[in-house]
């Protein structure tokens, strides 16, 4: 402790100058880099896309920090050529020890180049669906619809099937509808098309269509195909389904559903059943 005080007391301006320069470099450098990152990200996001804004801001950030780091080392009197040599040896050692990270970095570069999705796109990876928050060097970050934060390593993305739900501006909604065998199929078809045409969030074109998809155990199975803007997809699906139920009830069209009869076995007495006539 006494030695430290002694050292500080003996320090003159010449000794302090590099330290002051380092402090100024750190303060000014980090301030400028942070300002540039913020400004460029806002500008490029506005002008181009959030994805490009993110990439450019990361490039500025890493380049800026590297330059500050190199400048500080020079101020402190380190020989850069020696450091570069040492970094090469250290790099090999670190590389062997961090194969997964390197794999993620390379996968990240592929993701940026291939652009299967961008920031703000909604993607499905495995059984996780969410909006892309960022595409970083090691991983991508998602926000799921129930507001969970999910980090997926880039290597996993490269190896998995990725579905980009919002790549194209319009999406199809497939709504399965089952009606009783006694119903008039032409009438049901006309009613379904009328529902789709009256729904404001459904697009007129591509035109909605109805497909008779098969004969089920208890129903004639139909499929209503309608198109909506990607932003309206959920609203359209919900309101059409609701309208179908309402209009079918109004028109007296039966939607059959499976009934379950429980047989309790021969050891137990039969279920009590009381038959009531219509007149009672």
């Amino acid at each position: 402790m006494g030695h430290t005080f002694e050292y500080i007391r003996n320090l003159n301006l010449k000794d302090l100058l590099p330290l002051i320069r380092v402090a100024v470099l750190l303060f000014v450098g980090i301030t400028i880099v942070a300002w540039m990152v913020r400004k460029k990200r806002i500008y490029i996001t506005k002008k181009f896309s959030a994805q490009q804004g993110l990439i450019v801001s990361k490039i500025i950030l890493y380049t800026g920090l590297s330059l500050i780091f190199i400048s500080i080392l020079r101020e402190l009197g380190f020989q850069l050529s020696t450091l570069v040599g040492a970094a090469g040896i250290v790099g090999i050692a670190v590389g062997f020890a961090s194969q997964t990270s390197v794999s993620n970095i390379i996968s990240g570069l592929f993701l940026i180049a291939e652009r299967p999705f961008e920031v703000n796109d909604i993607i499905t990876v495995g059984n996780i669906t969410g909006a892309v928050l960022s595409i970083d060097i090691l991983s991508i970050k998602l926000r799921t619809f129930d507001n969970k934060f999910v980090r997926i390593p880039n290597e996993t993305i490269i190896k998995s099937d990725v579905t980009n739900v919002t790549r194209f501006p319009i999406r199809r909604i497939d709504i399965p509808v089952g009606v009783a065998y006694k119903e008039d199929i032409a009438k049901v078809r006309a009613l379904l098309l009328d529902i789709a045409r009256n729904e404001k969030v459904c697009l007129n074109e591509p035109e909605p269509i109805v497909i008779l998809s098969g004969f089920g155990n208890s129903s004639v199975d139909m499929l209503l195909l309608v198109w909506a803007e990607k932003a309206d997809w959920l609203q359209a699906k919900n309101s059409i389904t609701e309208s179908i139920k309402m209009r079918f009830d109004e028109e007296g069209i039966e939607i059959p559903f499976p009934h379950v009869s429980i047989y309790a076995g021969s050891e137990t007495p039969p279920f009590p059943v009381k038959i009531i006539s219509d007149n009672q």
Binding site: I170, R172, L203, N204, P206, L225, V226
Partner: protein
């Protein structure tokens, strides 16, 4: 009653708020209520449900929600002006027509306008409400990868038109089509870039400036030009609303659809 309500003078006149009353305005299918308290302006609107039960359109629904705008100064007047829809409009002529090679035609299309309600707050324009006078359904104009979301209207696409002051919520848009290609052009649908149009009035009818659309071939880039001047039918009409997007020329890949090029199954056809 509807005719009186949709009269051009009635639709787009200013609302004097000094009397402190609740004001009502019906423009096309939209009912608008406006009231004012001190520095606050309250606006509510509702569209007529043509499929639902008909009720007295002037009576204020109990469940209506108000848009509330607090201004810096006292507001005496609220201005109501027409604007074109915010996205292009696809016009489907009632019957498809063919345009021979090098032929041209001028058609007139009536387009439902939007209502822009604003006030001058210490000389600065503040928007209170912008809403369509008629709720239009939407459509997709393009292929599965590229295209535009547009509103959808069907039109007689007639070559002659008569002004109608009792349909003040509609503007007549003159569209000049020119088939510059060496093939016949079948016009099944037409995409009109209405955000680029200017609105004029001659006191009898709202008009837009003329839109010139050149077709140069199936895989050629065409050209759309907007004159920016009153149309020939109303040369003395005065400017009411400037275009939302100021762009005199557009070079779209597509303005016409002469065949069904996408279908519901997601398969390209035609």
């Amino acid at each position: 009653m509807t005719d009186i309500l949709n009269n051009i003078d009635y639709c787009w006149s200013d609302v004097d708020l000094r009397d402190g009353q609740l004001h009502f305005r019906q423009i096309g299918d939209i009912s608008i209520w406006i009231k004012h308290q001190g520095k606050e302006i309250f606006v509510a609107h509702r569209h007529i449900n043509r499929n639902g039960p008909q009720s007295d359109i002037e009576s204020l629904p109990s469940d209506i929600s108000w848009v509330r705008r607090v201004c810096r100064g006292g507001i005496d007047t609220v201005k109501i002006r027409p604007v074109f829809p915010d996205i292009p409009v696809v016009v489907k002529p009632e019957s498809t027509f063919n345009l021979s090679k090098k032929a041209e035609i001028k058609i007139y299309v009536r387009i439902p306008l939007w209502v822009h309600i604003y006030a001058l707050d210490k000389g600065e324009e503040v928007t209170i409400l912008e809403a369509p006078s008629v709720l239009l359904s939407k459509t997709w104009f393009g292929d599965f990868f590229e295209g535009d979301i547009c509103y959808w209207i069907s039109s007689g696409a007639k070559t002659e038109v008569e002004p109608d002051r009792n349909r003040g919520h509609l503007a007549i848009s003159p569209v000049h089509l020119h088939n510059q290609s060496n093939d016949d052009l079948t016009v099944a649908k037409l995409s009109l870039r209405v955000p680029n149009l200017t609105i004029f009035s001659d006191g009898e009818q709202l008009w837009s400036d003329q839109m010139e659309i050149d077709y140069r071939g199936e895989n050629e880039v065409g050209e759309i030009r907007f004159s920016g001047h009153p149309p020939q039918k109303a040369p003395k009409a005065t400017l009411i609303t400037k275009p939302r997007i100021v762009e005199k020329n557009i070079h779209p890949f597509k303005s016409f659809t002469s065949m069904i090029n996408i279908n519901s199954l997601g398969l390209p056809t035609g």
